[in-house]
């Protein structure tokens, strides 16, 4: 595309003005994407992402409860957070929930995605049903599950053999289990969709060739499908990781960080500090730490996986 445009440029003539308004001077010429084209998006991004980010950085060095003017306190917020056991705990909990999400959702959505890419009977109907959670907001999903898991009137009341006394939200292990389960229930369909699309894009010739070579269905899956899904897997995992690091509503509605602080993940802790405790300095510091962490982890994943080089997985196919 770039070569086309550059090769078209001399045709506009050597005169200076024509270079400025190439589209006007020549009907055949497509305008070169300049900065002006990016302006709306850039302004939007600057206004709603960069500017607030800068403000958050500034606020993280201030003490402010929303009344009066913020006061500069240096690195006080940061050193308090370093010594805060709840902060440390929240980081571990965030990582745990993120890892749980990736480990549980990835295999599930690969299997479901590959299945949904096929042409079996009833597939379309089942897929549609299966994608319903994707259409619900995280808030609705959380409210729904909180009610379904009520120990006296929900599922646990009738399945004592599985849930015991049903105190799912009263202990750390089960509360984390519930959070991981609800996220899985909600987000697996989305990742399934990614894998379904990717699996459909795998050229049939590969399977035909494998069949001629005598490979069975499992060998085909492990030696053709999985390697071909590599880039999708990375995409999906980055989304899961970033999503996991910033999970919030699920915790807010399902556990409110409890029992005690046993499910207080970092994003919830930020909310707790800023909007429940009116300690906007500390809240901003946590927010900033989260943004940095999510960016760094995404970069690492991209680098390690070679995704940034966009290597084609179709070598030798076309």
């Amino acid at each position: 595309m770039t070569t086309q445009i550059t090769s078209a440029r001399p045709a506009a003539g050597p005169r200076k003005e024509s270079r400025r308004r190439p589209a006007a001077s020549s009907a055949t010429q497509v305008g070169r994407p300049g900065f002006a084209w990016a302006l709306p998006a850039a302004v939007f991004f600057a206004l709603f992402a960069i500017a607030p980010l800068i403000m958050v950085v500034v606020l993280s060095f201030m003490s402010w409860d929303g009344l009066g003017s913020p006061e500069f306190v240096g690195t006080d917020n940061w050193s308090r957070l370093m010594d805060d056991p709840v902060m440390l705990k929240s980081i571990w909990l965030t990582l745990l929930l993120t890892v749980l999400g990736v480990v549980v959702q990835t295999p599930l959505s690969i299997v479901l995605g590959v299945w949904a890419a096929g042409h079996q009977r009833n597939r379309a109907v089942l897929s549609v049903i299966y994608f319903i959670p994707l259409l619900l907001s995280a808030t609705a999903v959380s409210v729904l599950w909180r009610a379904l898991l009520d120990p006296n009137f929900g599922i646990p009341a009738d399945a004592g053999w599985l849930f015991g006394d049903g105190n799912l939200f009263g202990e750390q292990a089960t509360a984390i289990g519930v959070l991981a389960f609800v996220s899985t229930w909600q987000f697996t369909p989305f990742h399934t969709l990614i894998y379904q699309g990717a699996a459909r894009a795998i050229p049939q010739v590969l399977y035909q060739a494998a069949e001629i070579d005598g490979a069975g269905r499992y060998r085909q899956f492990f030696h053709i499908t999985l390697p071909q899904l590599r880039n999708s897997m990375i995409t999906s995992m980055i989304l899961m990781i970033v999503g996991g690091l910033t999970t919030f509503e699920t915790v807010l509605i399902l556990t409110q960080g409890g029992p005690g602080t046993d499910t207080t993940i970092s994003a919830y802790y930020m909310y707790d500090k800023a909007f429940k405790g009116f300690d906007f300095g500390a809240g901003s510091a946590i927010a900033l730490a989260l943004v940095v962490a999510a960016t760094v982890i995404s970069l690492i994943v991209v680098r390690v996986s070679g995704y940034d080089k966009m290597r084609s997985s179709m070598e030798g196919v076309s």
């Binding site: 709603f48 992402a49 500017a51 607030p52 980010l53 403000m55 958050v56 606020l59 402010w64 409860d65 929303g66 009344l67 009066g68 003017s69 913020p70 994707l134 995280a138 409210v143 909180r146 009610a147 898991l149 009520d150 120990p151 006296n152 009137f153 006394d165 049903g166 105190n167 799912l168 939200f169 009263g170 909600q186 987000f187 989305f190 990742h191 989304l239 899961m240 970033v242 999503g243 910033t246 919030f248 409110q256 409890g258 029992p259 005690g260 602080t261 707790d272 909007f275 429940k276 405790g277 009116f278 300690d279 906007f280 809240g283 901003s284 927010a287 900033l288 989260l290 943004v291 999510a294």
Partner: protein, 434 residues
């Protein structure tokens, strides 16, 4: 799509936070008061009671040259939004609050007008209200609020049928309650329903036991900054009694997974799966909506049991004392505001509140109770509050808002055994008091 939206959303969260705050901070620095447009802006919590507030405003506007404009902020975000706008030019002249710790930071920031001058001119602004209620909006010895809705004392509700079947009478003393717990447990009923998932219902047990055992002074000392109060013998005794009750299985095993706010715990009582529930007086109308037959036939209520040898007056109550109107220092029309506040003890106000099931705390409420929707229940509550030497404001409202999260954590953790008494005491001592 949901997942993908998350990182931007995080940034957006930070953005909203920073922008909203940044802007309001600049506004505050600008030092511009509201321009005088001959209006008083009144901000209230948005809910069903707004129709009374609207009516009172209409009555006021009929005769006054300075008009009142009513703004409402719906739902649970009230305190957050109030704190964001209160130091900006958009701040109202008069606003709804919960008294106690909810206005303390504003008093400290010198934003509120002490009402003693208005009261000097018109003593009725204080005398027409029940003292135990009026006093909860007194900060550092000065009154800052006028009661403007209904009182909501916490009562011990029970299911008459369940209690009868277990041969239990509504308990008057702590020992009778422990006895009832044993009998109900033997019948396979959860003795006391508790929405521990919300935490504030759990907190109600602490409020009452501390008041019964130690009297209101202990908590007053603690919230006033004397943190040694938490390690006193009385404090430890109250904690010991809570431990005893929990360990006796009074709340079953899964109370932390039950919520009041999604109807879980009220349904336990209504369906006969539990015997008692400790809850604010709004519980009555809640049950009337959720389980009409039960509310009519089997819903009973008593004051919180007395504790033998306790220092607190057995007539003391705890709960939400009332809501208050506080006045901003910057208001241009203090006289008109005073006239408006006078309506908060008018006959029209009292009747309108009673009509929608609220119980005002004015001295003339007495006269109208018998013609209210639920005369017996209103009478019980009114006498309870009128005779109470002290009305303990809910702990999380008495402390500054920023303490509430840590306080709730400590309460939940002591209740479920994650913290022992010493751990709880340390956690309470670490709470900010100003």
């Amino acid at each position: 799509m949901k997942t993908r939206a998350r990182l931007p959303r995080l940034v957006a969260c930070g953005a909203t936070l920073a922008l909203a705050l940044g802007l309001s901070a600049c506004g505050g620095d600008g030092g511009g008061g509201s321009s005088d447009d001959g209006k008083i802006r009144v901000l209230v919590y948005g809910d069903a009671t707004n129709k009374v507030e609207k009516r009172i405003v209409d009555t006021f506007n009929k005769t006054s040259d300075v008009k009142v404009v009513l703004d409402t902020i719906p739902g649970a975000d009230y305190q957050k939004k109030l704190q964001t706008i209160i130091s900006t030019p958009q701040a109202p002249d008069v606003f709804f609050n919960w008294g106690g710790g909810s206005i303390k930071p504003f008093v400290k920031a010198d934003l509120l007008m002490p009402l003693d001058d208005l009261i000097k001119k018109n003593p009725d602004l204080e005398n027409k209200f029940l003292p135990s209620v009026f006093n909860n909006a007194v900060v550092d010895g000065k009154p800052y609020g006028v009661p403007m809705r209904g009182t909501q004392p916490v009562l011990l509700f029970h299911n008459k049928k369940v209690l009868d079947e277990a041969g239990v009478k509504p308990p008057k003393t702590w020992d009778e309650l422990l006895d009832a717990v044993g009998k109900l447990k033997d019948r396979g009923v959860t003795p006391i329903a508790l929405g521990g998932g919300d935490i504030w219902p759990t907190q109600m047990w602490f409020q009452y036991l501390y008041d019964r055992v130690a009297g209101p002074e202990l908590f007053q000392k603690a919230v006033g900054g004397d943190k040694s109060a938490w390690e006193s013998a009385d404090s430890k005794k109250a904690l010991g009694m809570i431990r005893e009750l929990v360990d006796a299985g009074a709340f079953g095993k899964n109370y932390d997974s039950v919520k009041y706010t999604n109807g879980g715990s009220p349904a336990l009582l209504a369906s006969g799966k539990a015997g008692f529930e400790l809850m604010g007086s709004w519980y009555y109308s809640q049950q009337q909506t959720d389980a009409e037959k039960f509310a009519e036939k089997d819903l009973g209520y008593t004051p919180f049991p007395t504790v033998e040898g306790g220092k607190g007056d057995p007539a003391n109550v705890a709960g939400n004392t009332n809501n208050y109107y506080s006045v901003m220092k910057k208001t241009k029309h203090p006289e008109a505001v005073a006239e408006f506040l006078k309506l908060m003890y008018s006959d029209e106000f009292v009747k309108a509140q009673l009509d929608i099931g609220n119980l005002p705390t004015t001295t003339n409420t007495d006269r109208f109770i018998d013609s209210s929707a639920t005369p017996e229940y209103s009478r019980f509550q009114y006498d309870l509050v009128a005779d109470a030497p002290s009305f303990q404001l809910s702990w999380d409202q008495a402390y500054p808002q920023k303490a509430s999260s840590s306080m709730h954590q400590a309460i939940q953790q002591f209740f479920n055994g994650q913290l022992d008494a010493d751990g709880f005491i340390k956690a309470m001592q670490a709470l900010p008091t100003e």
